[in-house]
């Protein structure tokens, strides 16, 4: 081997060595890269697994919530059912209670009134005028209480009665009731307007009770008006006729309108206008028995207006019937 050849060999050798070093370096780099990649993949996998787990948990949670809602709904329905039954039973109890109470209360009243009268008639020479006045007061109270009891009983009867629908002529009933009131108070002059031919399907007895009570009120609360006027008209309320009875009497404050239909609640004192406060409670029950609604509006000194329907309107159907 000559010098030239040797030099060549040395260079080649050197080149190989450099290449080898480079290769080894690259290899090292590659290993490092691979390692990094693997690490990253592992990281990603872990985070993916984590979100997967989270998702699963969320789904489970949502299912649980849905289940809970379903259960609550069922429970609610059950509770409503139970409550309805309870209310129905309570209502029945209340009715039989009202009946027996009214019967039991009337008997002592007959004694109170009866013996007061007996004293007035049999011992009149022994009782002075003051004593007699007291006895008259006792009698008046006894009779007033008897009236309250009768009213209470009538109210409970409205609920127990079976409902039968028939064509009823509201115009005619109104005229008859007002005629009767006129006969009872011949001195009164009341201007009447009764829209003709108002007929509807309703329970005749209950409708008479409704009209009687609203019209008696209109009659009573216009007794101090200078030019009393009472009207019956029909308005249309969605698909249903709505009957409107309006007067121009004493009226009432709308602030207390909620009290109007509650038994024994009165907006006028006994000194102003006499009454027991049961009339409109009866009206409301009778109207509700028909599935209808009743409402009132008024203004002090200007009159009152009562509106009622005799069955559910489209918008009421499916809606709750409040009592």
């Amino acid at each position: 081997m000559n010098q030239q050849e040797r030099d060549q060999m040395d260079r080649a050798q050197l080149q190989i060595e450099t290449l080898t070093t480079e290769l080894m370096e690259t290899q090292r780099g590659l290993t490092a890269l691979t390692f990094e990649l693997e690490e990253r993949v592992a990281e990603r996998t872990a985070s993916l697994r984590e979100s997967n787990q989270k998702l699963k948990e969320e789904v489970a949670e949502r299912e649980k919530a849905e289940e809970e809602v379903r259960r609550l709904n069922e429970e609610l329905e059950l509770r409503v059912d139970r409550r309805t039954h309870e209310l129905e039973a309570a209502n029945r109890d209340l009715d039989s209670f009202a009946y027996s109470v009214s019967h039991d209360l009337r008997a002592p009243l007959r004694s109170i009134d009866g013996f007061s009268l007996a004293l007035l008639e049999d011992c009149s020479d022994k009782i002075d005028d003051m004593g007699k006045d007291y006895l008259h007061r006792i009698r008046r109270s006894a009779q007033r209480m008897a009236q309250l009891i009768d009213d209470l009983l009538q109210l409970s009867r409205i609920v127990r009665r079976e409902l039968t629908r028939q064509p009823v002529n509201l115009s005619r009933e109104t005229r008859e009731i007002l005629c009767h009131l006129q006969e009872q108070n011949p001195e009164r002059k009341v201007e009447l307007f009764i829209e003709e031919g108002l007929t509807d399907e309703a329970d005749p007895t209950l409708i008479r009770v409704v009209l009687q009570n609203i019209l008696e009120n209109a009659w009573k609360y216009t007794s101090k008006a200078t030019q009393a006027r009472i009207e019956l008209r029909k308005e249309n309320h969605e698909d249903r006729p709505m009957y409107v009875i309006r007067d121009n009497g004493a009226g009432f404050s709308m602030a207390y309108v909620d009290k109007l239909f509650v038994p024994f609640q009165r907006l006028h004192s006994d000194d102003e206008f006499e009454g027991t406060g049961i009339g409109l409670a009866i009206v409301r029950r009778a109207i509700h028995r028909h599935g209808g609604t009743v409402s009132a509006s008024g203004k002090i000194g200007e009159g009152a207006c009562f509106r009622f329907t005799l069955g559910p309107s489209v918008s009421d159907v499916g809606g709750a019937q409040c009592e």
Partner: protein
């Protein structure tokens, strides 16, 4: 001449007193037998000893009474041949339509609702008493 008494069946002592008073004012000392419940009425009407059986001019009968109610007494009266034609006036505080129908269907001659107003109450009883206490006299006049 023997007079048939009025039989008054009423559980309230107060009302027996008041009814007696009202009757006295309308028919004076006309005999009245007052008992407190249905069972006592039955005992008077259907005694085992026929000689002691009471045949009143009229039975004034309350409905709601302890032991035996008025309706049962009425049915017993109507189902016995001796008493089946006896006049029976129901005098009750019940305003229930059902009671009225039941009484008439069981053969009551009339059904009177006790007024709470005692003027009305005593007038009502006075009318019943006067009517039945004088029915024979009226029948004689007609003959």
């Amino acid at each position: 001449m023997r007079v048939d008494p009025i039989l008054l069946v009423e559980d309230s002592e107060d009302e027996r007193l008041l009814a007696r008073r009202a009757l006295k004012r309308s028919i004076g000392d006309y005999p009245i037998i007052a008992v407190a419940n249905g069972q006592e009425a039955i005992d008077h009407l259907f005694s085992p000893n026929p000689a002691q059986c009471l045949t009143p001019k009229v039975v004034i009968l309350d409905l709601k009474m302890p032991k035996m109610g008025g309706l049962e007494v009425l049915k017993a009266i109507r189902s016995n041949p001796r008493t089946s034609a006896l006049p029976v006036v129901i005098l009750t505080s019940s305003k229930e339509h059902r009671d009225l129908v039941d009484c008439y269907q069981s053969g009551a001659n009339s059904y009177v609702q006790k007024p709470v107003d005692s003027t009305e109450y005593s007038e009502t009883i006075a009318v019943i008493g006067r009517y039945w206490a004088t029915i024979n006299e009226r029948a004689q006049i007609q003959e």
